[in-house]
Every structure is written in C-alpha cells, then in structure tokens.
C-alpha cells in the first residue's frame, strides 16, 4: 500500500520525515510520498529511512495556466511524482491536459462544486493524470461542509470511472496522526462509489505503477513508447 501525499516539516507538516516514516511502517504502508512545494528553486535529497520507500513527490501550486506549464516543465526531472495543487477550475483543466503531471490533488478544494467536468475527466484519462481523493479534506471537515466534500468526491469518482481516468487515494496528512493505512483509505473510496477491487488499487497498484514508470524514466530506462526490458549488458 502506498500513500503519495504526506507532508512533513520539509513542507507544511509538523513532524520530521523520520517520525512520519516510523508511523507509516507501523500502519503497514509500503511507501510514502514526501510532498514538497516547488517554486522554481532547487529541491534537496530526501533522508533515507530503512524499511520504507520514501518517494520524492513535488507539488506545484501555480497561480495561472502559463505558470503551470512552466513549473511542470522545470519540475518534471526533479520529481518521482509530480502533483498539482488543484481547486481552481482553469488550473484543474490545464493539469488534466498536461501529460507531464502525474496527480491532480484535491480538485474540489475550497469549492462548492466538484472542480471537474467531463472534459477534464476525458483529458485526464488521455494524459494519464490521476485524480486524487484526499482523506484530510474529509477528516478536517464537519457536518454541512463534509457533505459538500463527499458529494464532490462522489461526482469526481463517477466521472473518472466513466472516462477511465486513474484515481489515487491519499491521506494528505500534515502530521503522523493524519496517516491512515492503505486499506482504510480504500474503504472511503469504496463508499464513495468505486467497487472494492478498484478502490484498493487506488492506494496500491496504481501508485506503484506510477512510481515504477517514473523511476525508469528518471534512470533513462524508459522513453515515450520505448522501454529497456532486459538489462543483460548492464550486468556484464
């Protein structure tokens, strides 16, 4: 099980990477995406923690569509997973139409509507942009606001299912107490309308495939349409 969106004190989180990683290990999580915001400056290496896979996730928070294109171009080679801070419809749509983006985070953030329409969902499917179900949004909202969040997420799941776009469920935790095991995250996606098998895939196989693919690309083992399948020469 993977959790691709976890904040530590390297971004807006409270706890250091070590503490978050220890809690994730205790919850049976195989890998966590340590999210860091990118604004054009260099991004440092992640500290290594034994027994868990730490994934370098970069979040870009553009103010307009042009900035999104520029930041995604610059950040792509620095990130194992490239995410976009969603919430604005124009940004959401541009992110769905950009094949360099891996995940569109919380498209419904701060909105009364779901932030996505059928055009975005179709573009996300074509460009292999995964739509995120952010658990923190549900956890930190109450009553009326929580119903809006749940309703928006249900709509996004329905759209993604119809057009075949990937969904990723993540905790979005800002401290180690915000983490949840992958199976719990899958449960909420299941209740929101995805069947159980697909819901479990949103926190296991889908993130795993994304990470493997991007790591191969960063290691120059995979290009658009071409992939090294046998590294016999490397071993020799």
């Amino acid at each position: 099980m993977y959790d691709l969106h976890v904040h530590t004190n390297l971004s807006i989180g409270e706890d250091p990477v070590q503490n978050v990683a220890e809690m994730a290990k205790r919850l049976g999580i195989k890998g966590i995406g340590i999210a860091r915001y990118y604004s054009g400056t260099a991004i440092g290496e992640l500290p290594g923690v034994e027994g868990i896979d730490l994934i370098n996730c970069v979040i870009i928070k553009p103010s307009n569509v042009n900035e999104l294109a520029e930041l995604s171009r610059k950040a792509r080679n620095k990130a194992e997973i490239l995410m976009v801070h969603g919430g604005n419809y124009e940004i959401n749509r541009a992110a769905c139409e950009n094949s360099m983006i891996d995940v569109l985070c919380h498209p419904e953030l701060g909105r009364r509507d779901s932030g996505l329409d059928h055009v975005c969902a179709r573009a996300a499917a074509d460009n292999e942009v995964a739509l995120e179900i952010n658990f923190r949004e549900i956890l930190e909202s109450y009553r009326r606001h929580r119903t809006y969040v749940l309703s928006s997420m249900m709509k996004n799941i329905k759209l993604a299912s119809k057009y075949g776009a990937n969904i990723v469920t993540a905790s979005g935790a800002v401290s180690r107490w915000g983490l949840r095991s992958g199976r719990e995250l899958a449960s909420i996606t299941n209740l929101l309308g995805l069947n159980l098998g697909d819901a479990i895939a949103t926190s296991s196989t889908i993130p795993e495939e994304m990470i493997t693919k991007n790591r191969n690309k960063l290691a120059n083992k995979e290009w658009l349409g071409v992939k090294i399948v046998d590294d016999r020469d490397d071993k020799a």
Binding site: E22, M23, R26, L27, F135, I138, L139, Y142, R143, S175, W177, G178, L179, R180, S181, R183, E184, L185, S187, I188, N190, L191, L196
Partner: protein, 125 residues
C-alpha cells in the same frame, strides 16, 4: 404458569450475520474503554447518521477490550464492514489525545479474531 419477562433468543438461522473487526488504538496516552466507545458513537452518528447507524449494528465488545495492549474487537453487520472501517478511521482525537485506530483484520467469529489478532505481541512504536 411461567411468565416470560423477556423475549427468547433467536435461533441461529434467524440472526443476522456479523463480522468482527480486531483493532488497535495507536496513541501516546492510554485510552479507556468508555472514552473509546463515546468516540465511536460520535463518529458513527456524524458520518452515518441516525438512519444507517442502527443498520450497521456496531458494538464494541467490552470484555475483549484490553487497555494494556489497547486492542479490542468491534462487531458489525456483514454489509457494513467498509462503513465501520471508515467510521473508525475518521476518529483522530479522543479526549484531547491524538489517536489512530488501526484495523488489524476482519473475521467471521470472535474466536478467530481472538486467536489471530489479540493473542500476538503488542507492536510498540
């Protein structure tokens, strides 16, 4: 003449089927049974509402809750396992103490839940 003061226990074929979720409370402080039960009820009524809560038939089994290891068993209806998982995952604070409820597993009988999940060693952070 014998006067019955309470209804007879239903035969097994008439009883609704159940699932048992073994859980562990992860927290820096010790959480008591009563505090935990209150938190479960609050979370259930908030998330599932007054209509779905009785259908889920969630029940925290008191004599199987171990305050030392912070582990226990929750009973729920067969079709409400995912609802119960979500309800438990939405508990993040009990009596001002930060917590995570970790589901250790789901079983069909109390016996297997006890043998599989409550008999093991406590996983210390």
């Amino acid at each position: 003449m014998i006067v019955m003061t309470k209804p007879k226990i239903l035969p097994p074929s008439m009883r609704s089927s159940k699932r048992y979720l073994a859980f562990e409370i992860i927290s820096d402080a010790t959480i008591t049974y009563n505090d935990f039960v209150n938190a479960v009820w609050n979370s259930m009524l908030t998330f599932l509402g007054e209509f779905t809560t009785p259908q889920a038939k969630v029940w925290v089994i008191q004599n199987l809750f171990d305050e030392k290891s912070q582990r226990g068993i929750i009973k729920c209806g067969t079709n409400y396992v995912e609802h119960t998982r979500v309800v438990l995952s939405l508990i993040n604070m009990i009596e001002e103490k930060k917590v995570i409820i970790k589901i250790l597993g789901v079983t069909g009988t109390i016996k297997s839940a006890k043998n599989k999940y409550l008999a093991g060693e406590v996983n210390e952070l």
